[in-house]
Symmetry: C2
Subunit: 135 residues, 2 copies
């Protein structure tokens, strides 16, 4: 059960410049800053009202976000939907034949429980499910 759009992920090359741009554009506030070595990203989440964006800068060229930037340039990277329980959604999607990137929930940025669906099952969109007990 999707509750709302949790955030939209945006790939950027210069994190500090992007934070300044979006803070001004949306009159948004920085919520978190985090580094996830195993995914090769530095990330900042920004909140404006109840909306949230996540800015992602690669730690190197040979990371998923690094390859995305090389191929497509900066821009919209993924959309994350908030659900009460990521494991329940994965089981529902698996039964429906959806191709998953994460077969089980894992810890994502900011310590949240997340899982990604494969773009093959969404018509080209990288979709994430997030359980966020804070909201």
């Amino acid at each position: 059960m999707v509750l709302t759009t949790h955030h939209v992920g945006i790939a950027v090359s210069d994190l500090d410049a992007a934070v300044e741009t979006y803070a001004r554009l949306l009159e948004a506030e920085v919520e978190h800053r985090d580094r996830l070595e195993e995914q090769g990203v530095d990330a900042v989440s920004l909140c404006a009202g109840t909306g949230r964006i996540e800015l992602l800068a690669p730690l190197g060229a040979e990371t998923p976000v690094g390859r995305f930037l090389a191929k497509r340039g900066p821009g919209l990277h993924h959309i994350a939907f908030q659900v009460p329980d990521v494991g329940v959604e994965l089981e529902r999607l698996r039964r429906a034949g959806t191709r998953l990137i994460d077969e089980t929930p894992r810890r994502g940025l900011f310590g949240l429980e997340v899982a990604f669906v494969h773009p093959e099952s969404t018509g080209g969109v990288l979709a994430e499910f997030v359980s966020d007990g804070r909201t």
Copy 2:
């Protein structure tokens, strides 16, 4: 003042297939279906919880969404932020030196008042501001 993420726009080549895919993926319901001849799109909005996505299929190859699909394939197209008054936001952005696609609010899909910001001012993201009195 951004209130929330109003919707995320997704470019698709087969609208009916995409509606079926996302309805199943998100357990979402169709909210609206509309054609905007002057923008060259057929569109369907889907709601899941308080989240919303907008699926956009081009009416021809020489339309903005048709060119997007030819260049990048199906995927995330734009992000729309809900604001109380689109005209007030445009004035704020103009004063801050933001490059705009729409200098004044116009009627977009589903009869809503909208305006687009140029991707040059957002680091490559097509951003929309929407005023939606229904929500």
